[in-house]
Amino acid sequence: MEYFIQQLINGMTLGMIYGLIAIGYTMVYGIIGMINFAHGEIFMIGAFVSIITFLMLGILGVGWMPLAVLIVMIVTMLLTSVYGWALERVAYRPLRNSPRLAALITAIGMSIFLQNYVQLLQGARIKPLQPVIAGGFRFMQESDFVVTLSYLQVFIILLTLILMAVFTLVINKTALGRAQRACQQDLGMAALIGINVDRTISLTFVLGAAMAAVAGLMFLMNYGVIDFYIGFLAGIKAFTAAVLGGIGSLPGAMLGGLLIGLIEGFWSAYFTVEYKDVAAFSILVLVLIFRPTGLLGKPDIEKV
């Protein structure tokens, strides 16, 4: 039982990270109907910008942790958003009316490009970071297995919930959110009623990149090591999460992320760690075969 609760906590933390990345996939898919394959790389860039900012703050002597984490978060979100924006502008906007596969190939090209860009600039070695937030709550001290809920995990879960709340507010209440929902229903019609479609799509990429940047920061703090290759697997799993939750649906992305995180956590704990990636891929295949619309998605009718 204690072991189970511990895995639940770990899986939830992981799921929050996947959920934040999945939001980027699902938003982009909802609006322009393409898989932004390079989104995992945006997440990786977020992690790299985070580690650089942490190191710089260390050199500058910003010692108070909450402030440092806040600064890192803002810097990372800002700089990573620029990548999200540039990605859309350079690689996807010219192809908006092209066949889907052309855009997907561009996305793969962009993904390879960004991976190697970071590798060339920062080196191929793994980058370690000292634990930023240490310590935690300990439960069930009397049993032989002590359940630990670290402050870091509390931080990750709370931050994700706050971000999700803000995000839901943005989508539901603001002009940008209305524009996004309009674009999601019909791009052409949205343009006709005076919505700046280009700007809305750009901002969607910016928002998705900012979320992925926070996920990158969390990943860095959670695992303590990053390299230029982390975006690939995390991206695939987050995409699986988006599909599982129903691509195009925001609560679905979060739910899917949570489920993927939990499945991965329990799989590693009770079966074999080596095959945890196989588990994620098998889920992707199974969901696509038996319920292509995902858990919360709406059926999508292919028109001629």
Partner: protein, 505 residues
């Protein structure tokens, strides 16, 4: 961007604030892109990480981006002379510095190159040169023919010409390929590169059946390559079978893997299919990596037997009681023999793939693939079974991947899961895409370009994947149907043109 009407062709006063605003915008974006990852570099030091700053490079990149954008806007506003002078002078200056750097890297003008990376310097120089050349060209030609439609049509004509030229060009290349080992330039290194290039040509042709003909984007092609390689390696090490016995088995195993994967997933729509195949490719790799008892996991399989020439091994001293190739033919032994043999082996396999593809395109199933690629709904309505048709394409493509894999295993003598990563799939896909989906000659050219060139320019090796990614993006943006794409239907209702005038679609 806007259509030039006659008024617009007249000079309009330059809107300087707007110009600087636009260029400034670009400069800010470039600053944002570079300041984090270029401006700071994490250095490994004992006990953690240190930071090295490279702000000079960031500022230079920003300035170059600003200047480049200004040049671009001026070009758009038809101010050719300043662009010609500015960009021309800049590229000439860069060229002087670059040549100075080649002559002597430490002394002379070569020291003053702006960017640390030589490749970036060359790129900046080339970019300025292109800008200047374009300015000069537009200045001397008053008519603007840079519309997308015109360009696409011109490229279509060009690729049609290349594919027609392939009729003569193809046999010529084949001839060169056949006599290559006997040319005086053929040394060990060249032959090794040639083997590698032909391997990728074969894989490209195999994937072309799936991606180019049937229009199914397969991101996990390397899985079948791995299945072929491991089938041969395992059969050879466990059951002591030779290359020629195992080759058909490897193909069958790969085709079987293709069917097993394809059966459930082929009804998915294009981009989902792509992601699922990618997942499958990774799954195969993870299983190979972790099933230690059977595949020896990350240690890989070594001692895979070499192929024989009709039972004659190509070794210096054959085991007792057997005869080796050079003894049988009374030749003196040369270590190059084996390489040449491998070269001809893969060449023959590639040609079989090509021949097969060219012929099957004319069969009903091949025509059904091409029809499916163009419109699945229409195919359904005329009674083509999409799933079975796709499954055949998938299985046949996988089979050639398997053949290629067993050749890879026998050439290397050692395989491990590290050889079968996603990047490998992406490279093969890039070859097919860059060559233009469905174009056989395009695959050859793309493979030579992507595999052969970087092998010769070893210094560029670390930029290879970067250039891959950039090339995939650039070509897709510039020409979404592929470089030499020319979707001529293989079979026409009226082979010599329609009986009356009809619009070309």
């Amino acid at each position: 961007m806007a259509t030039p009407s006659s008024e617009q062709l007249k000079m309009q006063p330059l809107d300087l604030p707007a110009l600087f605003k636009e260029a400034g915008y670009v400069a800010v974006v470039v600053l944002g892109l570079t300041i984090g990852l270029v401006g700071f570099k994490t250095e490994d030091v004992p006990g953690g990480l240190d930071i090295v700053t490279r702000f000079g490079q960031v500022i230079l990149a920003t300035v170059v981006a600003f200047a480049g954008r200004v040049g671009f806007i001026l070009l758009r506003e038809r101010r050719f002379i300043p662009v010609l002078i500015g960009a021309g002078a800049f590229s000439a200056a860069m060229l002087v510095l670059l040549i100075g750097n080649i002559v002597d890297a430490d002394q002379g003008v070569g020291r003053f190159l702006p960017f640390e990376s030589l490749v970036v310097n060359w790129l900046i120089m080339l970019f300025a040169l292109v800008l200047a050349g374009r300015a000069a060209w537009l200045w001397s030609h008053t008519r603007r023919s840079q519309f997308v439609v015109d360009r696409e049509a011109a490229m279509d004509r060009f690729s049609a010409r290349v594919q027609q030229g392939a009729k003569f060009f193809g046999p010529l290349m084949l001839g060169v390929a056949i006599i290559l080992p006997f040319l005086p330039v053929a040394d060990r290194r060249l032959l090794d590169i040639a083997i590698l290039v032909v391997t990728y040509i074969m894989l490209g042709w195999g994937l072309n059946i799936v991606v180019g003909l049937a229009g199914l984007l397969d991101l996990g092609y390397v899985a079948f390559y791995a299945v072929g390689a491991y089938s041969y390696a395992l059969l050879a090490t466990y059951l002591d079978l030779g290359f020629w016995t195992c080759l058909p088995f490897a193909g069958i195993m790969a085709a079987f893997a293709g069917i097993v994967l394809g059966f459930p997933v082929l009804r998915l729509r294009g981009d989902y299919l792509a992601i699922v195949t990618l997942g499958f490719g990774e799954m195969v790799r993870v299983i190979l990596l972790n099933w230690y008892e059977f595949t020896k996991g990350p240690d890989g399989i070594s001692g895979i037997p070499r192929p024989t020439f009709f039972g004659l091994p190509l070794v210096r001293s054959p085991p007792e009681g057997t005869e080796s190739f050079h003894e049988f033919f009374g030749l003196t032994y040369s270590p190059l023999d084996r390489i040449i043999f491998l070269y001809y082996l893969i060449l023959a396999m590639a040609l079989v793939t090509n021949f097969f593809t060219l012929r099957i395109r004319k069969l009903p199933v091949g025509r059904a693939w091409e029809a499916l690629r163009e419109d699945e709904t229409a195919c359904r309505s005329i009674g083509i079974n999409p799933r079975n048709t796709k499954l055949t394409a998938f299985a046949i493509g996988a089979m050639f991947g398997g053949f290629g894999g067993s050749f890879f295993a026998t050439r290397q003598g050692f395989i491990s899961p590290e050889s079968f990563t996603f990047i490998e799939s992406a490279i093969i896909l890039a070859i097919v895409v860059l060559g233009g989906f469905g174009s056989q000659i395009g695959v050859v050219l793309a493979a030579i370009l992507l595999i052969g060139l970087p092998e010769f320019f070893r210094e560029l090796q670390q930029y290879r994947m970067l250039a891959f990614g950039a090339a995939m993006v650039t070509i897709m943006v510039w020409r979404p149907s592929g470089l030499l794409a020319h979707r001529e239907p293989t079979i026409r209702l009226y082979p010599h043109g329609p009986p009356k005038e009809e619009g070309q679609s």
